[in-house]
Symmetry: D3
């Protein structure tokens, strides 16, 4: 069973509204290597787990739990990028112009039609998230290898997204996720180490120095690339795998730690032009 405390796992860095950044950041939410995929993939792998060696199950589930918070973080970041991206307008008075016209030309029009300037379960190209991207093969080595690929490609794509926008709201969240995906890459790589693999110097994928990105450096300095947050309210064997020398060239020691302290879940403004929430005359 799942429990919740109303806290984001990381802060939302303010910057100017940016519908194009919002469009691109959707990849990290509803893309093939985004947080909805990791969340659902680890959900299926942990529920469908076969065999008695519970430490690997606890590892997979432990990362699944964090992905739930990542989904919420990316949803909130996209919302922040969209807030104020069009003239909020009056909504129920006659508009003189088309206050939403400009921002939607090169953004995702569904951000304005389907949602009230809010996140959607789609990728950067507007394609809806698809269950066929979730792999739970049931063979542990195949699943762990798939997870290494998933987390590595996640970092690769997020590194590219970082370089596609200078918006600070986007970069802060992406940088946090890059560092966390590095930790998860380490987790699954380490699990395969316990089964005999020596990764040499191929990690991290992609092959770069995280500290060159200033937003990443901050989280590396906090040790987030070698830590796994523990969201279990009961005991877990995750520490039997996630321990010892990092499999990455970045070195360091893997360690299970308590979750971050938490950051405020945003209260988002009304959006009259989007008829959101649209309660003005009703709710009294």
């Amino acid at each position: 069973m799942y429990f919740y405390r109303e806290d984001l796992i990381n802060l939302i860095q303010p910057d100017k509204p940016d519908p194009e950044a919002a469009k691109v950041l959707q990849e990290a939410l509803g893309g093939q290597f985004g947080e909805m995929r990791t969340m659902m993939q680890f959900s299926f792998q942990s529920a469908n787990y076969r065999g008695k060696d519970k430490k690997y199950r606890d590892l997979i589930r432990g990362i699944f739990l964090e992905e739930l918070s990542h989904v919420e973080l990316v949803q909130s970041t996209i919302n922040q990028l969209l807030n104020g991206s069009g003239d909020g307008g009056a909504g129920n008075t006659s508009p003189d112009g088309a206050p939403l016209d400009d921002p939607v030309k090169t953004g995702n029009p569904h951000h304005y039609i389907m949602g009230a300037q809010a996140s959607l379960p789609v990728d950067a190209g507007g394609n809806p998230w698809n269950g066929s991207w979730v792999y739970a093969h049931g063979n542990l080595v195949a699943d762990l290898l798939n997870n290494v690929v998933l987390e590595s490609t996640g970092v690769l794509q997020k590194s590219r997204i970082y370089e596609m926008s200078s918006n600070k709201t986007l970069r802060e969240t992406i940088a946090f996720l890059i560092v966390r995906d590095n930790a998860h890459q380490n987790a699954f790589a380490k699990a395969l180490e316990t089964l005999g693999v020596d990764w040499g110097k191929i990690f991290p994928i992609p092959n770069y120095d995280l500290n060159k990105y200033p937003e990443c450096k901050k989280y590396v300095d906090m040790g987030f690339h070698n830590a796994q947050f523990n969201f279990r309210l009961d005991d877990t064997l995750i520490g039997e795998v996630f321990q010892g020398e990092s499999p990455s060239r970045d070195g360091g020691t893997l360690q299970v730690v308590p979750p971050p302290k938490g950051y405020p879940v945003p209260t988002m403004p009304d959006m009259p032009n989007e008829h959101s929430p649209g309660l003005s005359d009703l709710n009294n």
Copy 2:
């Protein structure tokens, strides 16, 4: 942030393996009105919530939290229906026959190819779950109405699934979910009552006496059709909506209660023919 205790929200009732029941039950997991849809829909609606009236957000999020446990419950139930559905075989010795041939003729072949006789993110027809089924309109009344429809159709389809199989494993889980979906139908209907709607006698949808299904009656007797479990570790305003007279003809008083005590998460057997988990010579 999300936390976890390794407990299922309800028990898994044992019965004989039944791949056809497993195929049909996928609708309740990866179908348009299944638990993955409700989980993701309420995730997006709560993260994208606009406006200051937090009690509705807390209501939506509260039900989202329960859906996380429902996903796990249905995954585990499908797994139970598949366990033993083919000859487990020896896996790495030469087979004389085709031990998996019979069960897959009228089941979902992907249960045996993609997963190791385990649940998949697909519906009863084998179509993958799709993000375009998730609605978060941003207009509160539209969202609540959509949620009423979602939960009502969920009950309707689950009632039909109940009558499609006499397998006790399937029926126990479906019956629990029918009663819980009734509670969620009540929750969203009640939220619209606070905005002025009087539903008359249309609920529950479909129009039947839950007590006629013996497995449902047990949960009704426990008051589960009028209760909402509280999975929050901090405060919540959910009780400002979920209270008072039920909007259903079944009557009673809506009440926020602690979660169920929890039931064991199954440890599933090895499946050598499926090469699952496939660690025999590796993990030592």
Copy 3:
């Protein structure tokens, strides 16, 4: 603007319930070469028509109008095949068995879960109808050639469906549609004749004698393979194309005629196990 008279374009031949026939017949409704495709394709081609030569537009639209009735006919035929395919049951009393279990094993389970034993917008494999199958190229020759292929493949697939089932309900509707698709094949082939093509002896596709199928022979004897029904309430130039010698080896003269007299739209029985329509205590 579109008008309606409550009449089916052809009769529904009674025979025993047959969920497997219903599953296969879905191809003629929601498949790539089914009636939803022809209906929408000709809708887009007539609305998007460019140029002054209205007779081709009137031809395309005239066939579009008939396809609307074909959609309704196949929906009703599938419904007839499903009516009574499971024990209707009591619905709101406790069932002793699983009255719907047997018929769904080799049928389409969504016929029992999504619809109340009724037609769906899907193909014989259960895949949903998709807009990417609709072609309106805007180049008249390309559109007409595509339509020839569409109608020819429609006949080909329906001839195969005819041979996949001996159910009379299925065969009567399929036979009517085969003969009508022959007429539409003739219509688009004739339109290309007016632009210079001589088809030799390749039509009809597939290459067979319609009269060998007894249900088809009846409609051929009525001249339905060379007739185009006129559903226009105003004038139309369709007769400037649909006239003269048939482009088919079957010969005869193409002729625009009034619509069939019409057949009763079925009133379908309640289905308590499916909670359909589910009004018993409400509607009074």
Copy 4:
């Protein structure tokens, strides 16, 4: 059976070509809450109708008939927005530049590649229309509730589309559809009233004064928000439901009326650069 008179249900207001408006307006044609969805959903619900209470079937079918005209109206409006959006060019002479280059940068490139600057069965994001969006549950209350949600979300999204563009061609058609969707919202809400629901003051959704939009006001003044056009050539019981006090705060009396007088179906210009219709040397 379906009949046709070559008339649009509303006028096409001329304004400048606008490929971005055309892209966005596709949502009202091929989107999840667009006219293709309403048309097909009501088609399936009326064909699959169970039970003897024909007045609800006649209501659903009556609205289905109007949606056929709405599809044609939106197709024609998109075409009008695309006509002239690129240099028409010579087509079969050597071009000096790329006359279509500019307009396609922020429009939907398929409008220029797949169609000859004409409408497509896709949504504003370019995703093809999908049959899985059509719901015909077979349970009358569930179907009516779904239809209320469908029409309400249709109005909500169209109100947003209205504010996304100041193009008069787009706004006139969208305003007409907003008012008509209000009437259909009223129709399904009223049907649920006859089954016992009192909607309070939640309608219309979204919560605004239609008269603030000048194009809408014109149609409200004509009573179009409380009227249902009757496209039946035979008798119908629709008036037994669609009558009496409107369930909306806008008040007024629901009334079945004859269809509008009709407006000319456009004759669209040749588009040599698109090779449309491409008959110059052939058709003589």
Copy 5:
């Protein structure tokens, strides 16, 4: 069995980077009438061929073989259009700006996120290639007619793409493909001529003078519109169909000829910002 020599079937014409041209050109690769479709369609038709008349099978397979080279040519052309479209950057140093921001605003963002500024199996709208577009009906006349439509629509869409961009890289490849698709249109049209069809003057579709496009004229002068390259290492009967008078108004004699001499497969530059290939410290 398939063999390979590292040569492109045509040259890549250099011009400036152009992400919008790359986006649009994807239609010719992963669109419904693009090279992946023709390649797979002819693969299935030749493998599934029934009957003894091998000359038609050899014709279909012969064109399939050429499509393999077309896929490679379009992939390479898209890559050329993307090379240098964003600041290559340093990749593993801290970026000051967002070097990829501008080019992706109106391009396909997946070109920068999923691939390292490289081709994708998607169409111009970003929709992934889909197997449901492949037709292998098994009826030879239906298959040949479908292939005529496929090649004709391919030319039609490519002619439109030509006019959508003045980029020389795009135009050279498109012009080559237009002329080759004309040859393939001729091939399938000729096959139907051997079965009795006289096409009159409808080909080529679209109806234009290829020589008006200067890039096309060059290939027409080389006779490429009436030639079929022979990629078979053993004997083939293709010449029994592909011979004699062209079915096109352009006239000439169809002739099977050896493949082109071949052009260099590009060696593409590193792309540090995309972490491609990302081997710098590893591969030594």
Copy 6:
């Protein structure tokens, strides 16, 4: 450029018709880890290759070339399983029964409707092949890791398919592909070894002794698990990677060898009931 010699890469073992085996074997053709995916993935990775180290490109392309033959082999195997699976019938005489009725109940109905009892671009569940399954990340390590996962999962799923059917036609082809996928698993694993990875004892995945399957043993005895066929007509650097000790516990030395001698491409019988090829009166 691609060349062809009409030879299958392996023999088709005769056995009885088996539509259910045909349905399941589709996974190896059009499934997510089937031959169409491997073929297209390696096509995109080799065309999009960045950087100067050509030996990895030659490795990827070399395996791509073999996958082309695998696609043809699986197509032909499925066809063999379907040949004779229904009464061939007379086709153009009036059928007395429904000769295709029985085989389609638990097979894929599209094998009989869309194709003339022939292979389709779909998976075992009937879902069409999808381009979103193709990964060409552009980062060499990420691509190689993805390819290891792809080939490993391919072996895993094929091992399961082997155990799902005792049909010899299916088992012979699957066994050949299992051994070849082992070779390709070795190829990509070896490529990562050259970049520093030591795989320990995790390969082959799944973890079993190939020799326990008698059909596999035959190919292992021929050394096919450690060989890579060379389909290049020019020079290749593939041998710089594919050489030395196998990364698998099965040991042995990797070696580039000439292609197999080739096996006859089947000439398939007419199928009159399917109207295939349907040329009887035309082609003379």
